[in-house]
């Protein structure tokens, strides 16, 4: 199922991030075993996988922190090993490892990175002020970063990676450990970065995060790409759609079940929750047909909906495990 990006984005796709056959071993641990990644300009690629799948290793290679044992990667056409210096000028990196100096204030951190990025004294100050404002950190700007809350720290980390206005942004698990409201804030930031033309590669364990942000998703497990598609594409490939109905009068359940079994794609309708019937369907047309049949039979319903499978189900189908097997809280649990 791992496809060519050109089938998703068209033949003319301008790939900003390209990786082919990345291999990386740490002693006996085979972190990456031939990973391909591709991200066209101005899009978000979600790299999804459980802890230890190799996501972070892939990001560290793409951001020039690690050399691959085999395979190549280019950012904006520049090789991450041979042209590391050029690559570093066009990327921003945020993750559990690329952090800020906790003893410095938010402003001092951003100004330091501005100086290192050759923005000059005035340029660094202006850029720091601009980012502090954008990330709503102006009030805390002159406090040491170690006094920041978790959400503020993440915003500062992200701001730090944007000082050089990079074309390409790597976000390694940007919302791990944040509460749902803070997570939504981060999502809005990512969306506006993309609207402004940045290309984003985002790793996450949260299926909902990939679903909310990504134009395409690469699923990695045990150092291999096991799927590459759009979120909708992935859902369709794995499960098809499901039609769910809740009748106004529970007495109608059996008549409804009979109708659903006829419009469905073969399987019998099932009562998936108390008073809710569901049946797998082959396409959207089933919805209109169901409505017409209910009307003809004089049955009223309080709920009628068509669902793609969740990415959780997709992940389970692909790997035989849930995405959060080795994690105590998953976004889907929190948000459910």
């Amino acid at each position: 199922m791992s496809g060519d990006p050109r089938t998703l984005y068209g033949m003319t796709a301008d790939l900003v991030i390209e990786a082919e056959g990345l291999v990386k071993n740490f002693g006996k641990t085979r972190a990456l075993q031939g990973v391909d990644l591709a991200v066209p300009r101005g899009t978000v690629l979600g790299v999804l996988g459980p802890n230890g799948a190799g996501k972070t290793t892939a990001v560290r290679i793409l951001s020039t922190l690690l050399s691959p044992d085999a395979g190549t990667a280019r950012i904006g056409g520049f090789d991450v090993v041979r042209d590391a210096e050029r690559v570093r000028r066009s990327i921003g990196l945020t993750g559990q490892y690329a952090s800020v100096d906790e003893d410095l204030t938010g402003r001092q951190n951003l100004e330091l990175f501005g100086t290192l990025l050759e923005l000059g004294r005035t340029g660094s100050r202006r850029r720091a002020a601009e980012l502090l404002d954008w990330f709503d950190l102006t009030a805390a700007a002159d406090r040491q970063a170690k006094t920041y809350s978790g959400g503020m720290r993440r915003r500062l980390d992200l701001a730090a990676s944007l000082v050089g206005s990079p074309d390409v942004i790597f976000l390694d698990e940007p919302t791990t450990g944040l509460d749902p409201a803070k997570r939504e804030d981060m999502w809005d930031v990512v969306r506006s970065l993309v609207t402004n033309g940045s290309t984003v590669l985002l790793t996450t364990q949260y299926l909902e995060e990939a679903d909310a942000l990504a134009d395409a998703i690469t699923v990695i497990d045990h150092g291999r790409v096991i799927a590459y598609d759009t979120p909708e594409g992935l859902k369709r490939v794995v499960g098809g759609q499901t039609l769910e109905v809740r009748p106004s009068d529970p007495a109608h359940l059996s008549r409804i079940a009979a109708i659903l079994s006829e419009v469905g794609s073969g399987a019998q309708a099932d009562e998936i929750r108390k008073g809710v019937l569901a049946v797998p369907v082959s396409d959207d047309a089933a919805l209109t047909e169901t409505v017409a049949r209910f009307a003809a039979a004089g049955i009223s319903v309080t709920e009628l909906s068509l669902h793609l499978p969740s990415l959780d189900e997709v992940f389970f189908t692909l790997t035989g495990r849930t995405a959060s097997d080795d994690d105590t809280t998953s976004l889907t649990e929190v948000a459910a």
């Binding site: 998703l8 000028r89 100096d101 944007l162 759009t230």
Partner: protein
């Protein structure tokens, strides 16, 4: 499979400036910017200055009043003799802290951030080493200040006194590449501290810091005579007290050059391999 819509227009709001091409003297400018970071950290955590403020004070008072009478016949004579030695000893142990700090720092992720930026690889280390100069200046000032309160007096002239202070600071600056190298090689900050003390203590005791080298047995003299600490102490003592310094200044400078030539490349190489 669906086809995605194309590129959103690139507007100029937050993402307006592009990173310009590198300007010359990048290593120097970036190292200084990163040295400033070390300075801010030092300023923010004054308790980390205990080794360079309290230690010389305690050592001077303890050694002068316990051993002064026995070793030199009078506490004042011993203070005149001992102060340059205590300065050399505390400035050398003060250089250990950089290894301990780097070992802690490197695990925290800020160094990965530096490595993802278009910054010369060695700049974060060079910056950290340069930033610690302020600590060596603080050792020098606090040692001389407490010395003056106890009755120490410079017997040469201000110029030679300043030269003595600068020599001590330079010695620590060059020596600090050794703890930097050690910090890249061992796993914990405690191991850096332990190993460095094990190296520095024999250097400072088997020397002329506390007693004149003439009183030592022959086999120990052989070590004491090549000990870099001996040369530093003899040079500073001469510069402070106006006595002849002989070739000790040159030997000290040679040792400084040796530390940098050997341990700086080793430290930088270990740093590149570390992560």
């Amino acid at each position: 499979m669906s086809t995605l819509v194309g590129t959103p227009p690139r507007t100029s709001s937050v993402l307006s400036t592009a990173v310009p091409n590198p300007r010359p003297f990048r290593l120097v400018r970036h190292s200084l910017a990163l040295a400033r970071r070390s300075l801010i950290k030092t300023w923010r955590t004054p308790e980390a200055l205990i080794d360079v403020t309290l230690q010389p004070v305690l050592f001077l008072i303890i050694f002068v009043y316990i051993f002064g009478g026995a070793v030199a016949g009078s506490t004042h004579d011993y203070l005149q003799f001992l102060l340059p030695g205590i300065l050399a000893q505390t400035i050398a142990t003060g250089a250990i802290a950089i290894g301990v700090n780097l070992n802690t720092d490197i695990a925290k992720g800020i160094f990965d951030r530096f490595r993802s930026l278009p910054v010369p690889r060695s700049a974060p280390l060079v910056g950290a080493v340069l930033g610690d100069v302020v600590r060596y200046v603080i050792v020098t000032v606090s040692t001389l200040a407490i010395g003056y309160l106890l009755g120490f007096r410079i017997e040469s002239d201000p110029l030679r006194a300043i030269a003595g202070c600068l020599l001590a600071v330079l010695f620590a600056l060059c020596l600090s590449w050794l703890p930097v190298f050690v910090s890249m090689k061992v796993r914990t900050p405690g191991a850096v501290q332990g190993l460095m003390f094990a190296l520095i203590m024999p250097l400072s005791f088997a020397s002329n810091v506390f007693v004149s080298a003439e009183t030592l047995p022959g086999w120990m003299r052989a070590f004491v005579d090549v000990n870099p600490m001996t040369h530093l102490v003899a040079a500073v003592r001469g510069l402070f007290l106006g006595t002849p310094v002989g070739s000790h200044v040159w030997w000290t400078l040679a040792w400084c050059a040796g530390f940098v030539v050997v341990f700086m490349p080793l430290a930088l190489r270990a740093y590149r391999r570390k992560i």
